[in-house]
Amino acid sequence: MHRVSLLARARLFLIAGWAAIVAAIIVAGYGAWAARDGYQRADLARQLELANKDLLVGMVDQETGLRGYVNSAEAAFLQPYLVGVQEVHSALQQITSDASGPQLAQELTQSRTAVAAWQAWASSQKAGVDASGKPMTDPTQVAEGKKLFDVFRATNERLQSTAVGRAHEATLQAQSGQRLGFGLLLIAGILIAITLAGLGRIVNSGILRPIAQLAQIARELAMGSAAKVLASDRRDEFGDLSRALAAWQVSAAERDRLFTLSVDMFAIAGFDGIFKVVNPAWEKTTGHTREELTSRPYLDFVHPEDRGPTTAEASKIETGATTLSFRNRYQCKDGSYKWLDWAAVPDVAEGLIYAVARDVSEQKVAEERIESLNGALEERATQLEAANKELEAFSYSVSHDLRAPLRAIDGFAGILLEEHAAGLGDEGRSYLQRVAGAARHMGQLVDDLLRFSQLSRQPLQKRLVDVGQVVERALYQLQTSREGRHVDIVVGTLPDCLGDSALLEQVFVNLIGNAIKYTERKDPARVEVGCQTTDGGPPVYYVKDNGAGFDMRYADKLFGVFQRLHRSDEFEGTGIGLAIVQRIVHRHGGRIWPAAEVGQGATFFFTLRGETQWQQLAA
């Protein structure tokens, strides 16, 4: 929409109006001037006309007097003649003063020439009579005089007609000029009226009325009672204004909605300690009505213990400080207290505090619970740490002090068997051998137990591990255990993994060692090491054998410390190997599970990383 400014429109209108008025006045002025000029000229023409008539009268008087004098030679007749001479003289003088236009000048000259010609003839006639003293009756002279007078009369008539024409013409010009002047003055008047009316309209409909409307809307907006302000489609300043007002109303309405619908409590408090404005959330949270909240000092509602800090905080704010998180307790209508968390800014000039409060009672309870939980956890951690230290001390002393007597039992039994065998007899030797064997077995148990407990204390040294190489090293360690036996060991493709390679080697030593041990009575014995990869899951490594297997009903006992599913006279072992394997797998974040059947063999599957960890890594 192209914007058309009211100001521009009014200015354009004024310029056009004034230009028309000025033009009309100029033309009217010209008309007035033309009228005046016409009247002046008509006046002159009329004066000429009168003078010309006077001239004729004078000439006629002269001629009459002369004729009487010539015919009678009596001096009495000279009187009119002499008067006529005077009259002609003054008339001619008047005529001479006006000689506008070449035609008139020529006619005047002709008239004067004709007058002079007749007066010269008349003088000669008078002189003849004066000299002779008797009348003259020369007909030629009479004819001559008549001819000359006729010439004069003709010029006089022509001049008269010209003067009359002139007067008429000038009068007409004056009249038309007058009409033009009046007409244009009238037009100018009308134009002025139109201009004024147009301006009035612009002022009224373009300015006064919209101003009144906007003022009304603004009043209503201020009182908060305005209906929706319709943005006008006017393309002028008032359009701009009304659109701005409409936009303002929308944002004010949003602010209002925020103020009314907010769960947080908004308040404006005076430095006098009394709330001026509170939003509906206050009533919902505290149960007090707006009137109750704004009629008493807010300190009345604050928990007695919190009044000191609240007053201190308020005076800090009154000096211009902003508060971001201040907590105090407010009493509700039902007498209970709620924890409020405050943020407040002052308007020092106005003496007001703008504050937002939030009910954090539940949060406070939760925080207290977390705090007490944290305390309990810390206590537990301290206990755990102490227990761990005790355990460490315990295993240290186990490794020293428990093994020493076992070493003595085995050592002295050995010396007896070697150096005093003869005195013992077969039965004695057999018993002594079993004493030594039991001591060695217990030594093994102590060692296994220590290794197992060390596993959970050592930190993992995780790095990228070539599992194929780890298996190779494990098989090298197990060389002696398969001496004298034929075991088919098949190693499939094994993907690299992230882990502690020494511990992983232990896992494979134990699992493959078990497989070799439990295939003792199989021919051909077969051990398979491999890996299954599944969609989206971590790789599953496995060690499979075709050995003795076990009953899956007892599978949950497999991984317990010193738990065995076979008697030790069937298969050797302390029952710690799988417990160690499981602990290592768990410490890597993976899991281990078996699949087995009695007499058909067993498979141990394990992963080295949990499903979620793997997915995070894959993503």
Partner: protein
């Protein structure tokens, strides 16, 4: 046992069972020529630095190897080792830790202090005898003591 003559092995052991077994193993391997036995760390230091009961012994006779238990009354094995390494007279004297401890921190600390060998006494007597034989062969026969010690 302790002879007035040359001392080849200083055995520091508080446990009488272990002491007898070690001596038996040494005897079996014919390494008993000159063994000085002391029963705790303080006694070991007295012997090495000619103090207390050993103040009058011949200072030129130093052992060729010290077999040192870690867990000892009064002054423990690691402390004995630290003192030996701090003294120029015993700085290069070979020390073999002969102990029950599998503890990694003991092993690491021993090597940090400059032990020459670290042997965990096995429960199995056969293995124990074998270990003693190996260490005796190595330190007494193959590993010649430095001239400083000999002097």
């Amino acid at each position: 046992m302790a002879t007035a003559g040359s001392v080849e092995i200083l055995l520091v052991e508080d446990n009488s069972n272990d002491l007898d077994l070690t001596l038996h193993a040494l005897r079996k391997n014919r390494l008993t020529n000159a063994i000085q036995v002391v029963r705790d760390g303080a006694e070991a230091l007295d012997f090495l630095f000619l103090r207390g009961a050993f103040a009058d012994r011949d200072p030129t006779r130093m052992p060729k190897v010290v077999l040192l238990d870690i867990k000892l009354p009064k002054v423990d094995g690691l402390e004995v080792l630290r003192s030996m390494r701090a003294d120029p007279r015993t700085r290069t004297l070979p020390v073999v830790m002969l102990t029950s401890s599998h503890e990694e921190r003991d092993i690491i600390e021993s090597y940090r202090l400059g032990v020459n060998s670290y042997i965990v006494k096995p429960v199995d007597f056969g293995q124990f005898t074998e270990a003693v034989r190996e260490l005796g062969m190595y330190w007494l026969l193959l590993n010649r003591p430095s001239t400083e010690v000999a002097a």
